[in-house]
Symmetry: C2
Subunit: 102 residues, 2 copies
DNA sequence: CTTTCATTTCAATGATTCTTGAAATATATA
DNA sequence: TATATATTTCAAGAATCATTGAAATGAAAG
């Protein structure tokens, strides 16, 4: 993952609504959640939820697929893994002891 | 680490200048860097560097200590470890395979 | 074909963050 | 004490991000 992508991902993670959306999607995984489900879960209006979901998708942290009238979202663990790698390797030069961390 | 602290830390990491400052400090560790050193390393003016260093310090990602005329900064690996733990555990419910990640 | 449901888009506004350069502060040295 | 060095603070403006509600889109059902 390049720096620009990582910065975009960290920006996405720096908002409370988006963080809670992501956590909801992590909890739901491997099941998907509709935009409406997510909006309800985080207490956001439809348009506000759509705005933040678009931001998370732009950052590659979630993916979506339309299924009839609903749009189903799911977390992208691949991108989260890449971001973690960026944090630990690119940013921290491997100096964080993960054993001690988790 | 609570959610609010993590959001503040992710906000700090979401800026290119601050990301590069942090990387410089990681590279330099266990040595410290003065504000001027860091400003030079990332190509920022003194006041811009000071602004971003204050933001990183506010997020707990760096610490500082005045040494005569200079202010010496160093990365806080403890806070970075806590943030990584937040990302992997609180946010991702332990569903990211760190072996596969790094 | 009209209506309903789910979601997104849009424009306006408000809020936050970033940059800039000048001034202020703190410390050391002549 | 005056001067130089290192850093921070401040105010103004620019840029980015977030919220709101209304309108538009897409898809199903009556």
């Amino acid at each position: 993952m390049d720096e620009k992508t990582a910065l975009t991902a960290f920006t996405a993670l720096s908002n409370r609504t988006r963080m809670r959306m992501l956590k909801s999607l992590v909890q739901a995984s491997p099941h998907t959640m509709s935009a409406g489900d997510i909006a309800t879960a985080v207490g956001a209006t439809a348009s506000r939820a759509s705005f933040h979901l678009a931001n998370l998708a732009e950052a590659g942290l979630i993916t979506s697929e339309r299924h009839s009238r609903e749009v189903l979202y799911q977390v992208s663990f691949d991108q989260l893994t890449e971001l973690t790698r960026f944090l630990l390797v690119d940013c921290c030069s491997g100096r964080i002891d993960i054993q001690n961390c988790c």
